[in-house]
Symmetry: C2
Subunit: 676 residues, 2 copies
C-alpha cells in the first residue's frame, strides 16, 4: 500500500438514508412495469392491480350433499310422528353433491335421512328441510366483478385457488425487478476458481457475496443478474454500471469498494456518473454503504464483508423491491430475550448483533455470536438479531431486550441450548437429534467451560459442556461444579478427547512426547493462563517433573487451539499443545500426549424433559459412538454414562426439593465415581 | 342418482391417523434418496447429511483494517507522551484489509492512527496495539472439518454463504419427493377448458385443486406431477395409481372420490390394490380423507372441496414431505384472539375455522369466515385458523382462544378492521391503501350494518360500514348509531349506492319503476325482514302509496342480493330489489329506483390514528372517486365528507373524556347535518 487516502465517511441514520434514496427515486419515477402471466405460472408473483372475479362461484345453486332436492316449503309438515312422502320427479329429485338444483328447489335432504318407498317412485322423510339447507348457493364464494386479490398480493397456493375459482386464467403482475450485481476487487476470483493454495497464501479471495445476494433478491421477488468481476479501477467500474443499465437493470448493486480507502471507488464513480446521495450509514456492521442514482436508476455500493453486505441489502435493496411491488417489506417476528452477558456498544452507531436463542424455562436467552463483519457463520447460525440503538452504550447482562427472530418462536421452544466449552461432538449431537427427533435440536454457544457452569447457575441454558481438570486431584469437572452451582445436577460423560502436540508436517524435529518440550532447540507456543489446555500442560509437566520455566516459549500465549496450530504452521513455533481436530484442519502432525474428559452438566430438574431424554438416547446409541469414532481424536467407550450426581448446595434451612437425589442416588454416585 | 350406498366413514383422530400412516411406512421404508447438487443450485434444497467445511475461513491471519501490520509486543511502549517510531519493512508493514499478515506479525494499527515520517521509511504511532487487534484470524469463522450445516437444513441465502466460505461447492441434499396428483371425477374438466355456459348450467366443474396442491408441495420441497383426470371408475382409478407408481411417484394424491357415496371409489380401490389404513378423520372440513399404502408407497385420497382438500394435504402430505427431508414441519405462529361472535361446533369433531383478524387496541379480534368446505376465498382471505377441539361444543363470543396466524402478527397490527355491511368499495379502499400506504390495509368482515355497530360498541373493530335507513325520517344511520353506541363517533360518507329492480335480460315484462311491482302479472321476490333493502322497499312503497300486500311474492324472502338475482335469473320471479353489482354479475337488467347512503362509522378516539388518516386520505382522493365511478352503480360526489359527529351517550356523572367533541365540533355537526 503506497499511499492512503484518509477520507472519512459522513454517517447518516439508516432511516434518513432510505428516505433520501426513495425521495430521489420518486423524483424521476416511471410507473413499475406490469405483465400478464398464466395462472399456472403465477406462484410467488405479485399482483400489480386489483384482480376481479371473472365468473361467480359457484356458478349455480348446487347440492352440497348427496340426497334429494326439494322445495323447503313443501316439507314443513314432516316430523317423526307424521312422516311425509314426496313424489320423485315432482316434489323430490335425487341429486349428487355438486350438481345444480332443479328450478324451484331450494334445499337438499341428505340421503341418510331419506327412505325410498317400495314402488321406487316415492321417498319418505321424517324431518322438514329449512330453505337453502345443504345448498351451495350461486355466488356464495364470490360474485363476478368482486375483487379477489388486492394489488401487491404475493400469490401463494391459496390465492391460486381463489383466482382459479373466479375464472381468472391470466393474472396482472409486476415484472420482476432486475438487479445487476457487480462484484469488484482486484484480488477477487470466482468461487469455483479459487484454489486452496492461493487462498491459504492470501493471493486471492473467493467471491460468493453475489450468491447470497441472488438468493435474497429471488426470495424478494426480483431477478439477479450477476455480472463479471471488475477490478479496483474507476473507469472499469463506471463502464460496468453503464453496461448493466444498458442491459435493463432496475437497480445496480456494487460489491465492494464502498468504503473510503485508497482502493474504494464506488462513491467517487457514482458522483462522477450521477448523484451521490449517501456515503456511510450509522450502522454496524454495514457502515460503508453508498447510495446514489445514475441515469435515474438507483445504484448501491455494499461493503465487502458478507455480514455488512447483507445488512446493506436488507436495509436498502429489499425495501426497494417491496416498494416496487407495492407490498410491505417482510418483517420478522419479535420477542423479548435476556442476553446471557453484557453487550457493550459504541454510542452514535446502531449495532446489529446476531445471537443464538434458547428457551429456558419459558425465557428466551440470547447468546451473542461473534460480531465480525466477515463471520459468515454468524449469518447461518443466528436465531435472531438484537439491535442496539445509536444512543445506547450497550445492554446489561440479564436486561430484557427485543430480538428479531430468524426462526419461528415455537421452533426455539423445541430446542436445547448448551452453553460452555466448544466441542465438535455437540454439532454431531445436533445432527443426530434432527435426524431422529425432527422437532428437537441442540444449539450450542461457546463461552468456555466455566462460563457454561455460570450460565447454568443463572438458568440461562439447559446444559453445559465442560472439561475442567482439578490439577490437584486429576479429576475433571466435579470440583468446579461444586464451587459454581447451588442446583442439583448430574454429570454425563460425553467423550474422551485426545490432547497432543501439534507439530509441523513430518515432525522435522523428531519430538516423541512432553519431555521433548524441554529440549533447548524446541520453541513452544503456549495457551493462555486458565485455559483447560494450559492446566493440562502444567499437570503433564508436573507428572514428568519438568519445571515450566525450562520450556522455550512457555510465556508465549495464544487464545485458541487454532491460533496455536497457525503459529506452528507459520514456523513461529516448533510445537504447541491442542486437540487433534485443530491439527487435522491445518494439516499438521499430531502426537497424542494425554486424554481429557469432556462431560455434559445437566440440571436434575430437566432429567425427565423429553428433549434431554432424546439427547441421552442419541449419545447412548451405537450410531452416535461410531460417528464420534469416525471423527478421530475421540474416545467414546463411556459416552452417555451418568458419572456423577451432585445434590446441590442449599442454604441452611431450605426446604428439601422433590428432585433432590435420594439415598440410592447417592449410592449410585459413589459407584459411578469408583467406575471412573 | 339411481342407487345410493350408505356406507359411513369410521372417523379417526387425525393424530392417530398420522401415526398409523407413518408406522405403515416405517414398516417398509427404504432410506430416502440423496443427490449432490452444485452450490449455485442448492437454494431451498434440504441437506441430507451433516455438511462439513472443506477449508478454514479465513484461510490465513489477515488484516481486518487498512493500516500497518506489527508485532503487538513491539508496540507496548507507545503512548501519546512517548510516540514510537517503527521501521517500514522491518517492524511495520503497510497492509490492506483482507491481505495476509507478514510472518511474526499479530496486530494491525489503523491507517488513521499512523503518521508517516518525512523519509517515507518510518511511521510513528502514539498507542500500543494489543495482540490480534484488527486481525481476522485463520479459522476465526470456521475450521476445516467443522460441521457447517446439520442434516435437514433448508438452504437459504445465509446458508449458501456459509457453504461457500467453507469451500463446499457441491452439497448433499435429499432428492425432492415426487407427488403424483390424480384428479378424478366424471364431471371434472381441466380449468382452461371449462366454458362459462357449461359451468353456469352445472354441466361441468373446473379442476383447480391440483394447482393449489402443486404450489403447497413445491413450497414444502417436493415436486408435483399432475396426471390426467380420471373418471369415477374403480378400474380407471386403480390403473392411474399404478401408472403413477410406475413413473416413480413417492406418494400418490387422489382427488376426489374419498367419501362414502355411490361414486366414491378411492377407499375401495386402495383396499383392493394395497392396504387401507384410514377412511375418515374426525376433522371438519376434511372428514372424508383416505390413507393407505399401495406397493409399499403411501396413497392419500383427499376430499373434493378445496378447503377440505387443503386440510388433508396440510395434515398428511406436508408432514410426510417434512419427515422425508428430516426437518420439522413448518408450524405457524400462534396468538390469542377474541372471537367477535360465538363459534358453535359439533362435539366429537375437531373443527378448523378460518378467520379474519384485526388488532383493536392491542387485542386480536377474530371474525369467522364462512365455514363451507367449498369456499375457496376463505383460504385466500383468512388471516388465521381457530381449531375447536373434538371434545368442545364451541367457543363463546369474547372468550380468548388460540389462533394459528397465516400472516405475521405485526402485519395484522398495521391493518384496519372494518366489520359491518359489505360493499365492494371497501375492497377498493384496501387496494388503494396497499398501493399508497404499503404497510396499511383494510380487512373487512361482513355481518350486516347492525352487527357492525354492535361490534364497534364492543371495541371489536376500527370502523363499521353502515346503511341503516330510519324509515320514519328517511335519514340514514344516525338513529341506529344513537341507539347502539355509547362512545363518541364520527360518520364519514362513503358512497351513494344505487338500488334498483333486477329484471330478466331485456326486461321482457316492460317494468318502468316501483309502481309496476303492484301489477297482477308480476311475481316479486323480496329480501328478508330487517335487511336494509327491505326497509328501502317499504319506504319506497309508502312514498308511492302502495300497500305491500298488493305485491305478488312480497312474502317470498331471500337473504342476499345474489339470491334475489338468482331467483330472477332462474325465472322464479320477474323482479327483485337489489344493488346494481348483483344484477351485473348475473347479466340481468337493472332499473334504478333509489339511492341508499353507505357510510363509515369511526370512533373519535381513532380520529388521529395514522391508519384512519390514511383511509381518509384515500377516500378523499380524486383517483379513488374515479375508481368508484368506474364500478358503476355508485355516487361519489360527497365521498369522504364528515357528515355527522356523535358525542356519545355517557352514563350520568361519567367524567368528560378528553376526546369528547367540544362546542365547535357540535356546531360543525349541525352544519354537516344541514349539508345533507
Amino acid at each position: 500500500m503506497e499511499k492512503k487516502r484518509t477520507a472519512y465517511l459522513t454517517l447518516m441514520d439508516p432511516d434518513d438514508a432510505l428516505r433520501r434514496w426513495f425521495a430521489a427515486m420518486d423524483a424521476c419515477a416511471a410507473p413499475r412495469s406490469e405483465e400478464e402471466v398464466a395462472l399456472t405460472a403465477a406462484l410467488h408473483r405479485v399482483t400489480s392491480r386489483p384482480v376481479a372475479a371473472r365468473r361467480s362461484s359457484p356458478a349455480f345453486h348446487g347440492a352440497a350433499m348427496d340426497g334429494i332436492a326439494v322445495r323447503a316449503e313443501d316439507t314443513f309438515s314432516a316430523c317423526p310422528q307424521r312422516p311425509l312422502t314426496l313424489e320423485l320427479g315432482s316434489t323430490a329429485h335425487w341429486i349428487n353433491t355438486g350438481h345444480p338444483l332443479p328450478p324451484h328447489c331450494n334445499a337438499v335432504i341428505m340421503v341418510e335421512h331419506v327412505v325410498t318407498e317400495a314402488d321406487g317412485r316415492h321417498v319418505t322423510i321424517e324431518k322438514a328441510a329449512f330453505p337453502w339447507q345443504h345448498v351451495r348457493k350461486l355466488g356464495e364464494d364470490m360474485v363476478a366483478t368482486e375483487i379477489i386479490l388486492p394489488p401487491g398480493t404475493r400469490i401463494g397456493a391459496y390465492e391460486l385457488g381463489a383466482l382459479a375459482a373466479g375464472g381468472v386464467l391470466r393474472v396482472p403482475v409486476f415484472t420482476r425487478p432486475r438487479v445487476a450485481i457487480i462484484p469488484s476487487g482486484s484480488e477477487i476470483v470466482p468461487l469455483a476458481q479459487a484454489r486452496d493454495e492461493d487462498l491459504q497464501a492470501g493471493r486471492c479471495l473467493p467471491e460468493f457475496n453475489s450468491l447470497i445476494f441472488s438468493a435474497m433478491i429471488a426470495e424478494a421477488g426480483g431477478t439477479a443478474d450477476v455480472r463479471p468481476i471488475v477490478p479496483d479501477d474507476p473507469q472499469a467500474i463506471a463502464a460496468a454500471i453503464h453496461a448493466a443499465l444498458d442491459d435493463g437493470a432496475d437497480l445496480v448493486l456494487l460489491n465492494a469498494g464502498s468504503s473510503a480507502g485508497s482502493r474504494d471507488f464506488t462513491a467517487q464513480v457514482i458522483q462522477q456518473e450521477g448523484t451521490l446521495l449517501v456515503h456511510g450509514i450509522s450502522v454496524m456492521p454495514g457502515k460503508p454503504t453508498v447510495l446514489g442514482m445514475v441515469r435515474s436508476r438507483p445504484v448501491i455500493g455494499a461493503p465487502g464483508y458478507p455480514v455488512s453486505a447483507t445488512i446493506a441489502v436488507e436495509s436498502f435493496v429489499l425495501p426497494l423491491l417491496a416498494r416496487w411491488q407495492q407490498h410491505a417489506p417482510d418483517c420478522r417476528e419479535r420477542a423479548q430475550a435476556i442476553p446471557c452477558h453484557a453487550l457493550p456498544s459504541r454510542p452514535g452507531m446502531e449495532e446489529r448483533i446476531r445471537v443464538k436463542l434458547g428457551d429456558v424455562d419459558g425465557t428466551l436467552v440470547a447468546v451473542p455470536l461473534p460480531r465480525g463483519a466477515g463471520t459468515v457463520t454468524s449469518l447461518s447460525r443466528a436465531d435472531g438479531i438484537i439491535t442496539i440503538p445509536r444512543a445506547c452504550e450497550g445492554i446489561d447482562a440479564g436486561s430484557p431486550v427485543e430480538v428479531e427472530l430468524l426462526r419461528p418462536r415455537h421452533t426455539l421452544a423445541q430446542g436445547l441450548l448448551a452453553i460452555g466449552s466448544h466441542d465438535n461432538t455437540l454439532d454431531l449431537i445436533d445432527s443426530f437429534l434432527r435426524k431422529d427427533h425432527a422437532a428437537c435440536r441442540l444449539t450450542s454457544a461457546h463461552v468456555g467451560s466455566l462460563g457454561g457452569l455460570q450460565a447454568l447457575a443463572r438458568h440461562q441454558c439447559h446444559l453445559a459442556g465442560c472439561h475442567l481438570l482439578d490439577s490437584q486431584s486429576g479429576v475433571y469437572n466435579r470440583q468446579a461444579i461444586a464451587q459454581t452451582l447451588d442446583e442439583a445436577v448430574f454429570l454425563v460423560h460425553l467423550v474422551d478427547r485426545e490432547q497432543g502436540l501439534m507439530l509441523p508436517p513430518g515432525n522435522p524435529r523428531g519430538l516423541t512426547g512432553i519431555a521433548d518440550l524441554a529440549r533447548e532447540d524446541i520453541r513452544f507456543i503456549n495457551r493462555q493462563r486458565g485455559s483447560g489446555t494450559r492446566v493440562l500442560l502444567d499437570y503433564l509437566l508436573r507428572q514428568q517433573g519438568i519445571a515450566p520455566a525450562r520450556l522455550n516459549g512457555y510465556r508465549d500465549e495464544e487464545y485458541t487451539h487454532m491460533n496455536v496450530a497457525a503459529a506452528v504452521l507459520s514456523g513461529r513455533a516448533d510445537a504447541g499443545l491442542g486437540v487433534r481436530s485443530a491439527a487435522v484442519a491445518l494439516g499438521l502432525d499430531f502426537l497424542p500426549v494425554g486424554v481429557e474428559e469432556y462431560d455434559l452438566v445437566i440440571p436434575q430438574r430437566l432429567r425427565q424433559d423429553e428433549r434431554i431424554l432424546a439427547l441421552l438416547e442419541v449419545i447412548r446409541s451405537a450410531e452416535f459412538r461410531a460417528a464420534v469414532d469416525a471423527l478421530g481424536g475421540y474416545g467414546a467407550a463411556h459416552t452417555g454414562e451418568v458419572i456423577w450426581e451432585y445434590a446441590g448446595s442449599r442454604p441452611e434451612g431450605a426446604e428439601e426439593r422433590p428432585d433432590a437425589p435420594s439415598a440410592p442416588a447417592a449410592a449410585a454416585r459413589e459407584q459411578h465415581s469408583a467406575d471412573r
